[in-house]
Symmetry: C2
């Protein structure tokens, strides 16, 4: 596993600034990864994703297994070549999608049989199969196969956790590529004791990094924060921690404060296609008439391509007329905003000013910004 | 009109290679302009349009008058600033849209009253109004207001032609900006005598360039070619000629051969959104299963971003999964293909090898290329 080294450069409270070396580049943490579900960060070329400041992206194993299939991606030399992404890539294990998107799933101790949400065809994922697919896809960071139960169902969470732990060990034992870092996943729903047990178990295995799954799926912010604090106390400080599927600006800030290093989320690109802009002061709905004659950039403090080149009035016009460029320009802006946020958090940790940074952020951030935009 | 000079560098047969100077840059002709109907070349940022090789783009006066309105564009300093396009822009007069898109139109000698296709609201275009709007939009090249009748209706074409000629004079007389070149438009349907009369009349007025409207609207290729040859013999050789709305590769070749300098068309971007690639050997339908494992670029002789970076299999995957990036990548490729075509035609004219170039093109080009791709 010599291609992967994680160095903690600074800590401020529970907040961590680190560097994570991968075969396709060094990541500065905390970091946010935009999502390229089907080997495309929606509405953006790889050049535009790089231009928005991204260094790490995520792609979805379940989706790519179904379409176009891991075989043709392997024939290209892997995901990096297939989608033209020069930097590090992370693939998930398909666990979350099998338990949220797929149909008619049957879980047994060995794996999951399910039907594709695309065409209803039957498939089976096991820990071994999921590692094999991810080795063919060839991402830098890959994930153990996990079961994602309803977060409030105690009995289901207990049974699922036993499987997730057994599957984590099986994933570790069948993995063959040294140029991929396999992360284990902590599960356990909203139950503090299960989360503690899971973190201890996953931490006891020889993973180069750990992930936290099953959060931001309906629990309260307080529940999420409590669980993160429990896990933070158990997981090794020497390994990177990846919180799966979280990416709202306020969540990123609160989770960095609780020891998280890596984030991913569809939020910036999905909101862009719904014509919303993310800023450090809150969200803007660019369809609103109040922006129709507004010559200012979306965010006057932003240096992204969109804010450097276009007015709110122009972006609002693209939204109102449903031009595809609206989604592109807002995706660039939204990703840039999150990359700037994690970069600022990193700087605050290194400077030892994280608490002040977070206090200021909490005062300025609002879910509904338009009224005072 | 000193900001606009057209120099013929070379002629080969009726084919012309020229340079046309505008306030926002010098255009090398023959040239193709992609269409940015609503101040956006669909699915592309201005950077990507430049990257695809474009130097001139078209925007539609009718659409921009309705949304967002010429006032807000003027407040930005004009279309160049509004849409972030650094080079020359051409706006049409709205004539074609009023006669094809608008509803419940009533034509009189002074102008046209119509209802918006967007919301049914009533509007009125006159030659004076159309020049005023285009002066507020601020494009480099603007168009006289014209009537676009059914091409085969003789009586309608005679009546419409009289109006189009009267309107052309009125546009010339109300124009105030010296940094815009106003082009007159030759009409006359498929009737050779009307086309000749129209070309003579428009040529007699003091336009710095001339346009040809009402072609590629249902007539045969032979009819179109005959009319172009009639017009070519009448229009001044010293002024640029712009054939409106034409842009298929084979049409560009045949029309350059008949003395055309400027083209525009939605074809490359519309075909891209329908998942078709233009090449000098014909069209490819990138949704076809035959490309699912094809590691080659769309066009092995193409140097565009898409062909330099991605395989047919990747683009096919994006098409099959309806990713927005498919339209972006194919738009880049299609525009690049047309820009390369007009550049090659220019070179052939300068080298005196236009006839050979066209002979080779006709042999290699097919509307249906997939079978031998």
């Amino acid at each position: 596993m010599s291609e992967f080294t994680f160095d903690l450069c600074a800590q401020d409270g529970r907040g961590r600034a680190g560097t994570f070396s991968t075969p396709h580049g060094v990541l500065q943490t905390p970091i946010f990864a935009p999502v390229g579900t089907l080997a495309s960060v929606k509405a953006l070329t790889p050049d535009q994703v790089v231009g928005a400041g991204s260094t790490l992206i995520l792609a979805n194993t379940y989706h790519l297994y179904l379409r176009p299939g891991e075989g043709v991606i392997q024939e290209h030399g892997g995901l990096h070549q297939f989608m033209g992404w020069p930097g590090p890539i992370l693939t998930d294990s398909g666990g979350f999608q099998v338990f949220s998107l797929a149909e008619r799933r049957i879980v047994d101790e060995e794996g999951v049989t399910f039907r594709s949400h695309v065409d209803g065809s039957e498939h089976r994922f096991t820990p071994e199969k999921v590692v094999e697919i991810q080795e063919q896809l060839g991402a830098d960071i890959i994930m153990a196969f996990d079961e994602c139960p309803e977060p409030y169902d105690r009995a289901y969470n207990e049974a699922a956790l036993a499987r997730t732990h057994a599957w984590a060990e099986r994933c570790l034992s069948v993995k063959t590529r040294d140029d991929q870092a396999l992360f284990g996943i902590v599960q356990g729903g909203i139950f503090p004791d299960l989360r503690k047990e899971s973190a201890s178990y996953i931490a006891s295995l020889d993973f180069p990094g750990n992930a936290i799954g099953g959060l931001s799926v309906g629990e309260t912010k307080d529940e999420m924060h409590t669980i993160l604090e429990i896990i933070d106390a158990v997981l090794s400080q020497e390994k990177p921690r990846y919180l799966m599927g979280v990416g709202a600006p306020d969540d990123i800030v609160e989770c960095v404060l609780r020891g998280i290093d890596i984030f991913d989320c569809v939020l910036p690109t999905r909101m862009a296609r719904n014509h919303a802009a993310l800023t450090n002061r809150g969200r803007m709905n660019l369809r609103k008439a109040q922006y129709a004659k507004d010559l200012r950039p979306i965010d006057e403090s932003c240096s992204c391509y969109t804010c450097s080149s276009f007015s709110r009035a122009y972006v609002r016009h693209l939204c109102a007329t449903r031009e595809m460029l609206a989604g592109t320009l807002l995706s660039i802006h939204n990703i840039h905003t999150l990359m700037t946020l994690v970069s600022d958090l990193r700087e605050a940790i290194i400077d030892g000013t994280l608490e002040n940074y977070v206090d200021d952020f909490r005062v300025n951030y609002s879910k509904h910004r338009d009224a005072r935009a």
